[in-house]
Amino acid sequence: MRWLKCLALVPLLGTYILSAQNKQLLYDFYEIPQSLMVNPGVKANEKWHVGIPVLSGISFQAATSGVTVNDLFANDGIDFNIKVRERAINSLSRRDDFSSTSQIEVFNVGFRGRNRPDDYYSFGMYGETDIIVYWPRDLAILAFEGNGGANIGSSFDLGHLNVRGEMLNVLHFGINRKIDSELTVGVRAKLYSSIFNFKSTNNSGSFRTSPGEQNILENSIEADMQLQTAGVDEFLDIIDQGTGTRRRDTRNLFTRRALLGGNLGLGFDAGFTYKLNEQTTITASILDVGFIYNTKDVRNFTLEGAASNEGINVFLPEDVDNLGTDLWQELIDEIEAAVPYDENSNGYISFRPVKAYGSIRYDFGEGSSKTSTIDCGCAINVVGGRSEQYYRNSIGGQLFLQKRPLGIQPAVTGFYQRRFGRSLSIKGAYTVDKYSFSNVGLGLNLQAGPINFYILGDNLLAYRNVADSHYASLQFGFNIISWNGN
């Protein structure tokens, strides 16, 4: 029965295994080449850059809007069942979620066009895992308490089942173009290679037990539910086989899927940076406008129909000649026919979780040495002998929007960035979203000669007790950047 326990708390633990989406520290942190990945229209200063393979961009984010690990597993002497009941079953709403996203860049390369120095081209490949599980409130109550006792008369909403997840590999190519001294625009084309995908959203229906008319109780169900999966079955088959080649088979399948051997999709990112005046800049981007068409290794499960039953009901004399011994089985068959559980392999389209950023930034505090920036050789973004880096400080605000199964999820960020010459830049941010009102993050970008290292961490205050954190995020990476001929 241990698997049942695991199933019961998978959302809670899954949060800490995987990782979320908002990269507010990376956004518009244009000293970091990976900022192109969150705004292809960011002001790119590099002549070229090469990410250290597999280490150029690693990000893990995990979020829970409701209960934390500490809420349940703190060694506080409180009965675990009471904690689960009070802090999860009775407290969480259907809008509470457990989400995680991780990204690992395999490679990332950028270069400025020789014939068109206003264009900065970048391409690469990264793997991404994105999972969101909404707390299935009514289903959790049904599982923990059942339909009897005080729940007779209660209606359980089957629409509370809301999960979506995927693992995919993304090949991308982007163009960043400086239109003029005020405007930079960018677009990135993406080819998605799905490793697996599952989703069960837009479910509806209810289950209810109430006093019956022909018997003591009536159970009624009305369901329109679906779980769509693609790419999952083959992995499960390998696991089930349990042969000595399991690891190799899994690796081979994973590699094949990652390299365009699975379900494919297309998408794009777009963005811009616009200088309102010498010191004020606005930016915006929209990411992952795209879809994957799932046709391979598809297995869908459906439960659709309506039925009610009050047990076996015999009316005499009407049923006197209609009495067999299989009344109970006939009743079950009747219900299963009315609410059939089916499987199919119909292809389906899964849309990527679209994300959008917007920001306004005010630069101030002129640097002591203009030459230090002019020497960078990145003449493309030098304006009148000055560049953005001439200003040591930036302050501003950002807005992040993300499409989730239950609607648009926003986050608002205020930030301050301080540059110490061209070698070191620090960005602090305060973010408010559904997960936390106390998310203070810190990002650091270090340029040591051609070597670039960055590390961005969110919700640092929660590190005092990381198990009690509603949100955790860490990104880091290494690049080699050329600002001139080096």
Partner: protein
């Protein structure tokens, strides 16, 4: 650049690591999780009107029915059944006393247990009997080994009298509510 690198590796990262801490967690608590839902459902009901009972003049058994009932003996259920109650309700508006017997039979048609209900002639109030199973009641083995249920209705009165009640009938209803150990 060396001072900056030094700053990073000797101060910032260790600082983050030092600041990062966690209250003591005990993940073994997971083993204490109990999920014991109460599952409720109707089982069986029958309605026999007085006219029908009166037509059976040769024998006093107006109804007998055996039906396969393996809901409790299904392995998943049998292994997780903790306790519960079967509720029976009777309403008799006929002019005769009745006897209804519910027998629990195993796979060899042997009677494991039975409930005997003597119902006074109607009209009378609804009779309810709650039969407990589990630690505070009858053994759960009765249910776990039940393969079929036999319901027998007998007329203990005459077959000519007619109740002054309109639409006179006897009604039997039953439902179960059981607690299962979904997770131990």
């Amino acid at each position: 650049m060396r001072p900056t690198l030094s700053l990073l590796f000797t101060l910032v990262i260790p600082l983050i690591l030092c600041l990062s801490c966690s209250e003591e967690q005990d993940f073994d608590q997971f083993d204490d999780l109990n999920i014991n839902p109460a599952v409720a459902s109707s089982i069986f009901s029958f309605v026999a009107d007085e006219d029908f009972i009166n037509t059976l003049t040769a024998v006093n058994t107006f109804y007998t029915q055996t039906f396969i009932f393996e809901a409790f003996s299904e392995q998943f259920v049998a292994e997780r059944l903790l306790e519960g109650t079967i509720t029976y309700e009777f309403e008799n508006t006929t002019s005769k006393p009745l006897n209804i017997i519910v027998e629990f039979l195993d796979a060899g048609d042997n009677v494991l247990d039975f409930e005997n209900f003597n119902i006074a002639q109607g009209p009378n109030e609804t009779q309810t009997r709650n039969v407990e199973y589990g630690p505070n009641g009858k053994p759960l083995d009765i249910l776990i080994n039940t393969a079929s249920i036999r319901v027998t209705g007998r007329n203990l009165g005459d077959t000519v009298s007619v109740s002054p009640e309109q639409d006179a009938r006897v009604t039997m209803q039953s439902a179960a509510e059981f607690i299962f150990e979904l997770v131990e």
